[in-house]
Symmetry: D2
Subunit: 161 residues, 4 copies
């Protein structure tokens, strides 16, 4: 089972820039995370862009959709900021029928203490291999259908609608 | 979906004892790991014992089996040392029919740099929620049937038989 | 030898706020860092405030000076943001004659990967015990006289003037 | 001020070997630690050997002494296991007169959670730059004269005799 991994940024890949004192994107950590997890799953990663999901535009979402549709792989993982993850999942679900797509992200960057990133990657990687066709969100140790999930921004967790 | 988590030790829970300079068990890290992963899955954890799996006896395996059988939960996660994980999985599979049981562990303790523990917990937690009844091993980013997996001790990875 | 530790904030104590996605102050990490270093030095810590040093005012500097002057201890460590550390050191040096005062901070928060904080604390703690009376800055593995040091903001390092 | 760094092993450099499940030496972390501390001190490092200090022999100590004596640098840092650090310090002190030598180590390896290594390196690096000629041990946030220190093995700390 070959799995395509589309990387779009989000909290998971943010790092501290020591000269400016701000969090920003330099490169993705996803390959390093697969290696750390000693993953032998057959994954092929591609960075589409590295963005905060609040800054993601319609054309960014269309680009993700194009990549999903043109991908030869039936199984697709997408890293994504949590703030608009549900919106992107809905956008993709309208147009993708014969693939299993799982979106995930994190609340704390991989580079910062006590990050949930590695756990979330594990949950999502398992889900993309086990779920039927459809679009899903894997967060908080659970796998949600795209149309039955919301982010509670006050608590910072995903819950069923 | 309620998930029982049976904790038996293994590399995942080993820590460095600074006075002796050796690795040993003090307590489990699994609860801390669920919290770090911000898991909202409905898990109930129980420490059966904390052992290196090379020191696990037949009566230890029987104890794990008894706990699986007496558990009210249909979904069971088991932390386990990697060296005899396949053996325990086979022992359980002979006797458990109407539950989903997923065993997992790690190659590097949670308390040590670059540990795979948090990733493996994510993979296993997702698998126990998504797989049909049966006994499985979740390692290296994959979910294996109990009777189609072996540990390659030279490489330190689980592969299909 | 009793050492007073005055805590004023700076990068060293910043943490990631997961709901806002920003770095901010919650509490100091200095006590935790002394414990991690297994320090048996006789230190007494006091949080004056937790501020980015770019936001430090003249009255903040006067407050630090008052605390140094009223302190019964002859040896004083001060945590401080790096951007105006030299300015505060000069301000203190004009008014403090019979004490050893060492300022230090970090380029990467203690809570973030690859932080220099623990190293810098070690350098500063050693310096405050070994230097004669005066005001010093301990950064980049070196101990500088307050009037012979500058921060190169392009490189993010302290150098001799 | 040029500083020679002689590396001999000890807890500080031990790492977890995932195939054997044991702690062992692969390479030193000292250079990486200086970089992490953003040290601009003028240090030149040399690995003499990587040993647990309980296995250090008289000829190992003689080798360290030879290296100290033949070193062109007046300032010397030595990494060393804590168990026989005092013994080596005494051995060196008998024969070295015109140099400042500081030994240090750690109770928890650099590669393991909550390590004191980076703090201890900072304390020692500051001490070697600030102390007069002599042989010293830098541990637990303090700098001890070689002949006024002992390791309390029950508590795992160095104290004055």
């Amino acid at each position: 089972m070959k799995i395509k991994v589309l990387i779009t940024g989000g909290t998971i890949d943010k790092v501290y820039k020591e000269l400016s004192g701000e969090l920003a994107f330099i490169e993705t950590h996803i390959i390093e995370m697969f290696n750390r997890g000693r993953s032998m799953a057959d994954t092929l990663s591609e960075v589409l862009f590295l963005k905060d999901s609040l800054e993601m535009t319609d054309s960014d979402r269309q680009f993700i959709l194009d990549k999903c549709q043109s991908s030869q792989e039936e199984y697709i993982l997408i890293t994504h900021g949590t703030d608009t993850m549900v919106e992107t999942a809905n956008y993709l679900a309208k147009n993708i029928k014969n693939k299993t797509v799982v979106l995930f992200g994190s609340m704390i960057p991989y580079s910062i203490d006590n990050s949930d990133s590695l756990f979330n990657l594990g949950v999502a990687l398992s889900a993309v291999q086990l779920k039927d066709h459809g679009v899903y969100i894997a967060m908080n140790g659970q796998v949600f259908d795209f149309d039955k999930v919301q982010k509670d921004k006050g608590l910072g967790i995903f819950t069923n609608t």
